[in-house]
Amino acid sequence: MSASILSWSLLIASLLLGVALAIAAFRMIRGPRAQDRIVAFDALYVNAMLLLLLFGIRTGSTLYFEGALVISLLGFVSTVALAKFLMRGEVIE
C-alpha cells in the first residue's frame, strides 16, 4: 500500500521535474541574452539536483545524495564564474 503510494508520487514528481528541466533547457537555448542563459543554467542544475534526490529516495541509496551535493557545488561555482565573466570579461583577475 504505502510502497505503491510512494512509487507513484515519486514517478509523478520525477515527470514534473523532467518538464521543468526541459523548460529550463528551452530558455537556455532561446536566450535571448547571455544573462537569460545563465539564469536558465542556474535553474537547470538545481532541477537536475532535485531529480537526483528523487532517485535517492526511490533507491534508498546515499550515493545519489553525495552526487547531488557535488552537482550543487559545481553548479554554484560555474554560475558565479559565468556571472563574473559577464561583468568583467575575465574570471580570475
Binding site: M1, S2, A3, I5, L6, S7, W8, S9, L10, I12, A13, S14, L16, L17, V19, A20, L21, I23, A24, F26, R27, R33, A34, Q35, D36, I38, V39, A40, D42, A43, V46, N47, M49, L50, L53, L54, G56, I57, R58, T59, G60, T62, F65, E66, A68, L69, S72, L73, F76, T79, V80, A83, K84, L86, M87
Partner: protein, 121 residues
C-alpha cells in the same frame, strides 16, 4: 524499492505530499522562466524552485528516511544549508552583471547609475 512496504501509510502519504509539493513549485518556477517577458521578471522564477521546491523534496526525503530508519538525516540538511547560502549569491551576481550590461547599453528599462553618469559627463 527497499523496505517501503513496512512504512506506515501516514508517513508514505506525508512524504508523497511533500515531494509532490516541491516538484509542483519547481515546475511552476520553470513555467515562469519560460513565460515571463523581461529578464528581471524571470530572475524571480528560479527562487520558487530553490526555496519550497527544494525544501519540499528535502523534507519528504527526511520524513521517508527517518521513518524507514535506514540512515541518519545528514545530506538533506547539508544540501538545504548549501542551497540557502548559494542561490542568493549567484542570483545577485547575475542581476548585477545584467544591470551593468544594460546600463552600458543605456537600456531605458533599468534605472541609470547616478554616480557614474556624473563622471561620464
Amino acid at each position: 524499492m527497499m523496505q517501503a512496504d513496512q512504512l506506515p501509510v501516514w508517513a508514505a502519504l506525508l512524504a508523497s505530499a511533500l515531494v509532490l509539493l516541491g516538484a509542483g513549485f519547481t515546475v511552476i518556477g520553470a513555467i515562469g522562466l519560460a513565460r515571463l517577458q523581461t529578464f528581471y521578471e524571470r530572475l524571480h522564477a528560479p527562487t520558487l524552485g530553490t526555496t519550497w521546491g527544494a525544501g519540499g523534496i528535502l523534507l519528504g526525503s527526511i520524513v521517508y528516511f527517518t521513518v524507514a530508519q535506514s540512515r541518519p538525516v545528514v545530506h538533506e540538511v547539508l544540501i538545504a544549508a548549501f542551497l540557502t547560502v548559494t542561490t542568493p549569491v549567484s542570483l545577485m551576481l547575475i542581476a548585477r552583471a545584467a544591470l551593468y550590461r544594460d546600463r552600458a547599453e543605456r537600456n531605458p528599462l533599468v534605472p541609470p547609475d547616478d554616480a557614474s553618469q556624473e563622471t561620464d559627463a
